[in-house]
Symmetry: C2
Subunit: 573 residues, 2 copies
């Protein structure tokens, strides 16, 4: 067959983009609810019209193809609409973590160079501080222009918020031109500025900064193609089905809400927006809107459990990730009426990279066994072309499917990020040939399901043996006195590295001795895996999203080993 | 953002292809059942290994990239395996309709020019005849070489079949080199011939000939990209979920089994293969394998209903298409335990183009109303970028969403075919700008759901009014004497065209007069829509897949109108 005789046409080769889900929803699901937020609600027809107008208004602000538009907002209708309107204007959406402080937001603004910054009224102080700081970072860099500032007032209960005059010297450079979101939506001229068609599916659709447990935040760039494929794959593997009612407990700034921002348009679901995932807001949503689906990090389960012990009126499907849900917690939330699916994702994989697809045959197992199976990261996302666990990055040899041999999880597929913005060094380091290196270390079980054991940076290599810091930590957590524990490598003159434990004790156990912890571990673990030193701390250092900063602990452990007598340094810091 | 700074890499830009689902299934679903056929069953690991070996063996037969490999077989494991192995060899799969006779198969072979023809043992006679005929069609064309013939013996109960000596003059040109499928799978050298990676997702993966109600069969070419996207979209919109057990009642040669050949690998489902969809085979499969999903043209419902009136042990999800299921039939099969989803597809749309997505609020409606809603073709497939109903192909104006105004259904998206093989005229005629023209005429209901009313060729334009031949036929079927009815346009000196009815009467009503039928219609229809003439026939002409050949009736109607007095020609033909 002569393959060249049937070239691509506009009718049969359309760039893949998640924004195409919106006009389709406006046609197929026109009068169904798209967004609910307090007393406000929209249909898909309305959401499409609003997004078209907002996209026109953004174009009228002289935003061009591939320009960045940043936003600092909680899970409001505005942030949802921007997921479509910004790419419909040809621009790249940069949703910033609202938990960051002004210096961190400033660093992102300086790096991303947005043309426009949208800010929810609750975050104006941090945003204006960050803008000032990003300018002062740029002393002498005269090419930079301040982004336009668009304030997003509350759509349900407008506050009439205004932007405070900047506290700086007021030299005009700091004077912020300020627009209001509602006015932009109203004034968008769709006749003169219709949505820009996606010219190339490889174009960027979003820029998401990693929270970075080990280094400075990096700007992860998603393509339209990757976001489209990742969206379809997650809807399929989570089994979202028709007419879901999705509660926005997960921040949309986390990997664009694990693709479910775009995903709800694809399946015509209803988005229930809440400003913060409080127990009150979530239970009110269950009662009022018949929520069927939500995402939750395990920490949210505690919030849900503390507020209510009554079974839910209907099963709520919960997709969880970030950390595997502990067995006891899983059992308790499932008794309440939540049905939990565990997935594994990362910013660089455009959201979900693996899903622990449940098998019917596991239904009959005891709860602890079900929890153990569900805590595994699972099988690769359908949007990946391939995934593997590599024992040795030199030979690229895979681990056996024995559930024991550690290796690095590697991914390959069109949902893997384009790369890190303006960081060719980090980008090159993240890829090796056909693989993206996740930096996560895991095993493959005989049934093909992958389970993560550690971050590759956190693996301790002692006398040639790989030690999973997570396994040692799990042992430490079994000790009744341990409140928090983290294990990192400590240089050792003979073994190369040995495990060093950082431990915060429970208040009532503050007198516990290092030797007691060390012998406890030696009784439970192979000798080479047991920590050789315990450093007591009041609490472990954590970043803005609550992840333990192992890089800081590792630096401490490096310094400490310069003192050869361990007894001398094992004191409370 | 500088878009050019992050170029595509092997790790993040992988050509989309449905064959990538197979190695993933071999990893993620290794020990789950892939295929069941009588007493034979395979796991996904085994199916992948067998397909790799078959792909290697096909490459050893000097099959190159983009070569066509044809197959004539029922729903056996071999035909399923070929859906992966042939593209894994870089070739294009051409699964031929087993209901065709030798001349039709010969026409396809002559047009598709396969390098290899695989034939199930039951179809050796028709295949050898067809090969001889395709050669004789080529008198004087010395470039053509005969395809290699591979016989597929029954894998469960081998017959040791041999190919009969050709009945022709035996001049060596007719001597068929014959191989056996099992031997090919055994001898494939995967070390020397590993699966060929897909170089370009626009490459052809399959070539499917339309059954053609109105013209010669055309060879529809699918891209890897289109098949991949169409597969994911159907799994999602049908809601196939995890661990389906899929019964192969629909022939795999129909649009590659509406993508479910590749789809079952994507979701790790089990394929239950049967040689023919007899009631016995289907009910045995329900009982033995816990079938969860199947596809069925409405005619299959009759087979299922006639055999059994006991409720099924578990609900079987049925995807139906080709013709909307009549209300009474729908009600009866759903009472048995089948849950029916209606979809609309066509070869040119790489399978399903629309799905009648069910809405929960319709559950409470009376059965007849539910059937009416379910008979609609629905909303566009997720793999389409756009779909519309166009009132006028000159202005490309859309119809209003009124459920009444007729227009042509048009599609746009990456699952629209590449075009027709070696038929630039038909290819150009099928496209207009950004649209593929389906040739189907329908309406859009206020809720956005599309309903087909007719084929565009079958619409009768009388005095500027569009008349749906299907609606007139529906009225004719209400007459107690009518067994079969078809309505086509007949030239009219004043109105341009008027409806002409072809009617086959039930045996017991053979004395019915034309005037009785005409007045019956005039009482039920607007006058301009009522037929102006009735031609009685014993039965309507049909093609190999049972579709009424309106082109033949239209030719007759054209001739008949040369006689001005209708009474003279309204006789039984």
């Amino acid at each position: 067959m002569d393959g060249s005789s049937l070239p691509k046409r506009d009718a049969n080769f359309v760039p893949l983009s998640p924004i195409t889900f919106l006009p389709r929803a406006a046609s197929a699901y026109a009068d169904r609810t798209s967004i609910v937020y307090g007393s406000i609600s929209f249909t898909w027809r309305q959401t499409y019209q609003r997004c078209c107008r907002l996209a026109a208004a953004i174009q009228q602000l002289a935003v061009s193809r591939n320009d960045v538009v940043s936003v600092l907002a909680p899970n409001t209708p505005a942030l949802y609409e921007m997921h479509f309107a910004v790419p419909m204007a040809g621009a790249v959406l940069n949703a910033i973590n609202t938990r960051l402080d002004a210096p961190n937001v400033a660093a992102i603004i300086k790096h991303a160079e947005p043309k426009v910054l949208f800010v929810d009224y609750q975050y104006i102080t941090v945003a204006t501080k960050a803008l000032q700081q990003s300018v002062s970072m740029d002393m002498g860099d005269h090419r930079r222009t301040m982004p336009l500032l668009v304030v997003i007032d509350d759509i349900e209960k407008p506050t009439g918020v205004t932007v405070p005059a900047p506290s700086g010297e007021g030299d005009g450079h700091h004077q912020l031109p300020v627009l209001e979101y509602k006015q932009l939506v109203a004034r968008g001229d769709t006749a003169r500025h219709p949505p820009r068609p996606v010219e190339d599916e490889w174009d960027a659709v979003a820029l998401n900064y990693t929270s970075g447990t080990t280094s400075a935040p990096k700007g992860v760039v998603y393509s339209h193609r990757g976001a489209y494929l990742s969206t379809l794959a997650l809807l399929l593997q989570w089994g979202v089905g028709h007419e879901p009612v999705y509660l926005w407990s997960l921040p949309m700034f986390h990997c664009n809400g694990w693709m479910l921002t775009w995903g709800m348009a694809a399946c015509g679901g209803a988005n229930v927006c809440i400003r913060a995932p409080t127990a009150e807001a979530m239970y009110a949503a269950f009662a009022a809107h018949g929520v069927t689906h939500m995402c939750a990090a395990p920490v949210l389960f505690n919030i849900l459990l503390e507020a209510c012990h009554e079974p839910l009126p209907r099963t709520v499907e919960v997709l969880t990730g970030g950390a595997p849900p502990p067995a006891a917690l899983l059992q308790r939330v499932e008794q309440l009426g939540f049905h939990v699916t565990h997935a594994y994702g990362m910013t660089e994989a455009t959201g979900v990279a693996m899903v622990c697809e449940w098998r019917h045959q596991w239904d009959a197992l005891p709860p602890s066994e079900r929890a153990r199976l569900k805590a595994r990261q699972g099988v690769s996302a359908l949007s990946l072309a391939d995934a593997d666990v590599i024992k040795d990055l030199k030979t690229m040899e895979s681990v056996p499917r024995d559930g024991a041999t550690l290796g690095e999880i590697v991914l390959c597929g069109s949902n893997v990020m384009k790369g890190y913005l303006k960081d060719p060094g980090a980008t090159e380091a993240a890829f090796r040939g056909m693989w993206f290196l996740t930096g996560d270390v895991g095993v493959i079980h005989p049934d093909g399901y992958v389970e993560i054991k550690d971050r590759s940076k956190d693996v301790i290599i002692s006398g040639g043996e790989n030690i999973s810091s997570v396994e040692v930590e799990a042992t430490l957590y079994q000790h009744p006195a341990v409140q928090e524990a983290a294990v990192v490598a400590m240089p050792h003159p003979y073994w190369g590295e040995t495990p060093c434990a950082f431990v915060a004790l429970k208040r009532e156990f503050k007198v516990t001795k290092e030797e007691e912890i060390l012998s406890f571990c030696r009784n439970k673990l192979p000798h080479f895996m047991a920590p050789k030193m315990v450093i007591f701390v009041d609490s472990l250092p954590k970043n803005s999203t609550g992840k333990v900063q192992k890089v800081e602990l590792r630096q401490r452990a490096q310094r400490l080993t310069k003192t050869p007598t361990t007894a001398a340094v094992s004191s409370r810091l």
